[in-house]
Structures are given as structure tokens and as C-alpha cells.
């Protein structure tokens, strides 16, 4: 999995690319561990080819950290395969999800 972090309009944008499963989740968790829990963060999922419950778990863990640190986390650009996992697990009820990266950064 490729992870690219950029700063945009006061927000940290983390762009993920590839497969987000149990083999990749530790890498993502390690990256997110180093982030500031108080900063606004957007995770761009445009190039996530596949996610399963292990990948979702990494995102849920990061969201919990953000909540306890008074930061914010938004997700952008979920494709249909990612959306399906969010629908089955009802993860939509936890996350702020946007169809567009600019909208996620701007709000």
C-alpha cells in the first residue's frame, strides 16, 4: 500500500493507494500513529482498490483516536467496492464521508 501525506488548506490529506487488508493494515496503522490527533485530517480513498474488515478496522481505530484528541477525520472518494464494506458494517454512521476531495477539505 502506498501512503502519501500532503498539507492542504490547513488540513492533512492522506492519500491511500492499493490493497487495504490485514497484510497492509499494520503499515497504515503505524503511519497514522504518528499523526497529530488534534489536526483536521482527510483520507482520500480514490485509489484504494480493495478494502476488507481489517482495513476498515485501521480506519475505525484512527477515527477513535481523532475523537479522543478533538481532531476531525473525513473520508473522500469511496469507490463502489469500498462503499459496500461501509454499507454492510454500517460504518457510514461513524464517518464523515464525501464524494469529492475538495468538498472534504473545504468544509
Amino acid at each position: 500500500m502506498n501512503i502519501v501525506e500532503t498539507a492542504r488548506n490547513g488540513a492533512t490529506v492522506i492519500s491511500l493507494e492499493g490493497i487495504l487488508n490485514a497484510a497492509a493494515a499494520p503499515q497504515l496503522k503505524a503511519h497514522l500513529e504518528n499523526s497529530d490527533p488534534a489536526s483536521p485530517t482527510v483520507i482520500d480513498l480514490t485509489n484504494v482498490e480493495f478494502i476488507d474488515s481489517s482495513g476498515l478496522g485501521a480506519l475505525v481505530g484512527f477515527l477513535r483516536k481523532k475523537k479522543t484528541g478533538s481532531g476531525s477525520l473525513k473520508l473522500a472518494n469511496l469507490n463502489n467496492r469500498v462503499k459496500r464494506v461501509f454499507e454492510i458494517t454500517q460504518a457510514y454512521s461513524l464517518f464523515d464521508v464525501y464524494d469529492d476531495l475538495e468538498a472534504a477539505i473545504g468544509k
Binding site: I19, F50, S53, K67, V85, S93, L94
Partner: protein, 137 residues
């Protein structure tokens, strides 16, 4: 029937999931499936990813020779993919994680159950067999 034996390691999850997706895709294309083939194939890709992950996660980490067996069997109107491990028995119907509690795991069998038409779990011969079936038509 097509079978594959993979070492029980996380790096092989993707091989198992890709095998499941491509097999389901070919099955749907050659058996008159009229629905969304990408969704049909993704259901198996995701389910096998979850099942293989569980097989690795709950295996004996000290056993470097541990393997997971995948088998794919099709009939005229159904396809079944089976994941077999050598692990202790597990609860085939664990409680569904409450999403509002920010669970970081525990969704594997729940997701499989949502995606498949039939799920059969057996423990015999020192291992677990999880058979996942979808019907067409």
C-alpha cells in the same frame, strides 16, 4: 474442482482473494448469470479475504509450516469456495460488533454471512472448514 494450498501467512491473503474473484467472475460469465458480475465476484473476493485472514490470525504462530487450503467447486447453478485451516474450532456465529463502539475487528464472519447465500462451518479432522456458496438464477 480447483484446489490451492497456501502457506498460512498474511502475504497470501491477496492470492486467495484474487483466486476467488477470478473464479467467480469466470463462473458468472460462463453460467448465464444476468446480474452484476463485478459485484458477484467482489462478494467472493471479500469473503475469502476475510476467511483467509481469520485462518492466519487464529492459527498457531509457532507453526511455520501451517497452510490454508482453498477449494472452488461449481455446479450448474452455484459456486462454492471453501477455506480450510488446521486451527482450533471457532464460534461460527459470533456476536455482531456494535459499530458505535468503534470496533477494530470482529466483522469477518458477519460480512461473509451478508454476502453469501449459504455459509457452512464445520470442525473436523483438527481443522475448520468454511464453505461459502452463492446461487445464480
Amino acid at each position: 474442482m480447483l484446489t490451492a494450498t497456501l502457506r498460512a501467512e498474511l502475504a497470501n491473503i491477496r492470492i486467495a482473494a484474487n483466486l476467488a474473484r477470478s473464479s467467480a467472475e469466470v463462473f458468472a460469465n460462463t453460467h448465464g448469470f444476468t446480474g452484476n458480475i463485478a459485484e458477484f465476484a467482489h462478494a467472493f473476493e471479500l469473503s475469502v479475504s476475510e476467511a483467509f485472514t481469520n485462518a492466519v490470525r487464529y492459527g498457531d504462530p509457532s507453526n511455520a509450516d501451517a497452510v490454508v487450503h482453498i477449494s472452488i467447486e461449481s455446479g450448474p447453478g452455484s459456486i462454492t469456495i471453501t477455506v480450510k485451516d488446521n486451527n482450533p474450532p471457532f464460534d461460527p456465529a459470533p456476536p455482531t460488533p456494535e459499530i458505535q463502539g468503534y470496533p477494530e475487528g470482529g466483522f469477518g464472519l458477519f460480512i461473509i454471512g451478508k454476502l453469501m447465500d449459504e455459509v457452512k462451518c464445520e470442525h473436523e479432522g483438527g481443522g475448520n472448514t468454511l464453505a461459502m456458496t452463492k446461487h445464480i438464477g
